[in-house]
Symmetry: C2
Subunit: 291 residues, 2 copies
Amino acid sequence: MSDRMVKINNPSLEKQSNDHFHHLGITKSAIDIPKTYGDVKFICMGGSMTRMKNYAEIFARETGISISNNVSTTDRYVMYKTGPVLWVNHGIGVPSISIIIVELIKLLYYAKAKDVIAIRMGTSGGVGAAAGVVVISNGGMNGELLDKHVQYIVGQKILRPAIFDAEVYQQLYKVALELKIPAQIGKTLCTDDFYEGQARLDGAFCEYTEQQKFSFLNRLHELGVRNIEMEALCFASMFNRGNIKAAIVCVTLLDRLKSDQILLEHGDLDKFEMRVFKVVSTYIKQQLKLC
Amino acid sequence: MSDRMVKINNPSLEKQSNDHFHHLGITKSAIDIPKTYGDVKFICMGGSMTRMKNYAEIFARETGISISNNVSTTDRYVMYKTGPVLWVNHGIGVPSISIIIVELIKLLYYAKAKDVIAIRMGTSGGVGAAAGVVVISNGGMNGELLDKHVQYIVGQKILRPAIFDAEVYQQLYKVALELKIPAQIGKTLCTDDFYEGQARLDGAFCEYTEQQKFSFLNRLHELGVRNIEMEALCFASMFNRGNIKAAIVCVTLLDRLKSDQILLEHGDLDKFEMRVFKVVSTYIKQQLKLC
């Protein structure tokens, strides 16, 4: 089987003598990128800086692989490296994640990295999935209920497929079952806001009725949606363009068919977030033959 | 003149016995919100946590007003209070800023705050505005080149006006002139990504030519656009719905009609960011009669 190299599609970049990564604060000429990042096989991402640092530290401890310092020099994103695994936060929403994905793809392209898999490790609202259930995405859906990531480029509307790799999400699901962690495979609604976009009744503005909310959520459920978050479309489409397989593993913090307010018992959030880590870290260790 | 109270529009929220602000980590019943936040007159926001903390500390030092601890208990946003001025970061992009704006509007509504003005203090790419010029927005523009904030709510596409208050942006412009800080009033293109959405040639993907890039940027310039950032539409439309006047003051880090890579001299970024602070803090001190 031939190597799956990380790809870019930008003839201008090839002509550019140097490259500064605005949001990671890395300059191409300042480090030996192939030597430093050529071995990367997994990119683990999540919204929060603290959570990603925590995950990286636990992974390092569990595997005995050393952890790098935070290699990002800006305060927008953090990036840690434990051998062939990067741990990077992405903030909230598609615009925020789009920036760091572009910079990661450029970095791994310069690094000549190959056979890379990117996994988002997140939290989400369940749709007919109870708090604590891990949802593994088999497709993204946008606010118009289409499985497309929409971009506006030089005044044109561009639709891109939001594709997850079936082999990877099936493998992740199998790992969750082995670990006896409650898990479902399902579609993921990706919204541009947390309140109105997710039909919550607890925002500052709510111009729909409770009946309209539930009719919307039930429609999502019928379409196969099992959770709602804010990054899936871009995560799938951009990594797909970069020839990097993408998967999303999110734990649900509540079932939106039951409530809007996230009211977990003390310790539940940590416990739930660790379920995501266990599934993803076990999968990575299996793939890297570390266990 | 009657008081301009902060408004919400959500009958369900009135019926809810308590309210947990998911991303600030504040619970309504746990603090006396009117006593703590009823005096707020200005919300100053910017993308970066570090920058907003820095701005808050300088403002406190200059005015002799004490600064609160960070009152957010999550690692997604920070919020500092110096008397009647809040300093809050918003992350990158419309989805990220939409969350914190909703929570701020709810907070100030519960606080019975009135006559509040929200000012975003940002960085941006200039369009025919050189690095270091402060652009004060008189309108937002989306990727379809319309002055509308687009939301998808229960499956419907909703367009909202992105309105800035003319009195406030004219006053801010006057302050910049008094301080001899280079400034322009202009429209602001608000994009959902930093690379393709802004027609950059230095991303991982670039399926347009240099000629298409410049034809797009020149078209923006003809339409009155003077800078590009990633939050203006939501900032204008949501605060407008909350009966809070909105303004955006962004310094440009480069002129996109000249280049894509941000290559500032050492010290320039700090100097440019302080221009935004000087304009906005002087304006606030004038309004609060602190000078």
